[in-house]
């Protein structure tokens, strides 16, 4: 599945059953995360397009039904079901932490097109 991350428009591929967090980390990308295990809600992103499923039960105090309806998505537990577009939280940005390993960095964003 193709994952497009706004606002930069960076694209990465998620393998089958791979969470958003894992797919981004595997591509050498970092963003705001907390416990990485569905407990704190720090890694929420906005799902702009497409569908995800959750690989494990999510506690309602972490992600409420209202938030789900608003398209808020817990990225450490969300597995894309389709190609998706997500937007990072306001004030967050993608950091390249493994630049030397990914010289092109799977980057098919706006500036490359």
């Amino acid at each position: 599945m193709r994952v497009t991350i706004l606002p930069d428009g960076v694209e990465v591929d998620a393998a089958d059953d791979e969470t958003l967090l894992r797919a981004l980390a595997r591509a050498g990308l970092r963003y705001r995360v907390g416990c990485k295990r569905g407990g704190c809600g720090v890694c929420k992103v906005q799902l702009k397009l497409g569908e995800v499923r959750y690989e494990r039960p999510i506690a309602p105090q972490v992600l409420s039904d209202d938030e789900r309806v608003e398209g808020i998505c817990l990225s450490c537990r969300a597995v894309p079901l389709t190609n998706i577009v997500i937007e990072l939280q306001e004030g967050d940005r993608l950091r390249r932490v493994l630049g030397f390993a990914f010289p092109t960095n799977h980057h098919h964003g706006k500036e490359d097109r």
Partner: protein, 305 residues
């Protein structure tokens, strides 16, 4: 010294009981001593009471903390003083908590549930009390010795500090304030004995857990714990490093539901009755918390369960 002896049990919610069993039993090395559908009771090899951790499936976060008190008279005294303070206080009966005797349930000014009790069924340590070996040969994973302390988040640190001090005889070994000119309390590390902290709290949302911690023997055990976390793919929040506060060496990491745990070793001092309370000012607080990085990661003040 307070008649409260120690943090005796932590009760916690997890999203998946089997993942939690694997984490607390295989990675950390606790023993499952009792189980019922949806619930586990565990103890560390070096603990002598029946259990120190209760895990229940459904949700995430802290249910309650239990502190063991040395006599029924002290328990009644704590009950009376907590009522006089204005806290919500109730009694619970033997058996309401498995293998735990009668006790007093207090709702802290921060809405956390704190249970005081005098009796829990004796189980004995793995090495026993007669000519014991230094450690058991069948240790799994990290081999945590005992649950040592908890750090909770509270909206009004000064109020909780006053409660713990006036009602339960805890003393502040270390305190974090805005500055030497502005004494607003940001956090307090409180002891009931001589350990630098048995209960600590920092400013944050009420009724939340920041972490609870396991005692390990020394710095090399902390390093080895870090190795095991990598082998078992346990997310590490920070460490191995040292805290300025308490001088303990540490790793913060997360259980499979996202509750923060700590392994902690190397007590820096004994907080005796005449110990001069240490003050940290907010400009140096990051160094107090992570002595080497001297800056906080984002999660430290945002991740609570």
């Amino acid at each position: 010294m307070s008649a409260v002896m120690r943090l005796g049990y932590v009760q916690l919610r997890v999203t998946d009981l089997e993942e939690a069993r694997n984490h607390y039993s295989n990675t950390l090395g606790m023993e499952v001593v009792h189980e019922e559908p949806g619930k586990l009771w565990l103890k560390c090899w070096d603990e002598w009471d029946h259990h120190s951790l209760v895990i229940e499936e459904g949700g995430v976060g802290l249910v309650k903390l239990g502190y063991k008190v040395d006599s029924p008279e002290a328990l009644a005294d704590f009950e009376r003083r907590s009522q006089q303070f204005g806290a919500t206080v109730g009694r619970f009966s033997e058996g309401e908590n498995l293998k735990v005797g009668d006790g007093v349930r207090i709702t802290l000014p921060s809405d956390h549930t704190l249970e005081l009790y005098t009796d829990m069924e004796y189980a004995g340590t793995e090495t026993g009390a007669i000519n014991p070996e230094a450690w058991p040969r069948n240790i799994r994973g990290v081999g945590t010795h005992w649950i040592d302390h908890a750090l909770i988040s509270v909206d009004e640190p000064a109020l909780v500090e006053r409660f713990m001090s006036e009602c339960l005889d805890f003393r502040s070994a270390e305190r974090a304030v805005v500055s030497m000119e502005d004494p607003e309390l940001l956090g307090s590390w409180m002891t009931c004995g001589e350990s630098p902290h048995d209960l600590a709290f920092i400013k944050g949302p009420n009724n939340k857990l920041h972490h609870f911690a396991y005692h390990l023997e020394d710095w090399s055990s902390i390093l080895k714990a870090g190795d095991i976390f990598s082998m078992d793919d346990v997310p590490i929040d920070i460490g191995p490093t040292r805290h300025g506060i308490t001088r303990g060496t540490t790793i913060y990491f997360f259980d499979p539901a996202g509750n923060r745990n700590e392994v902690f070793a190397g007590l820096g001092y004994r907080a005796m009755k005449d110990f001069p309370t240490i003050t940290w000012t907010s400009d140096q607080l990051a160094k107090g918390i992570f002595y080497h990085a001297r800056e906080l990661n984002e999660g430290f003040t945002t991740v609570f369960t």
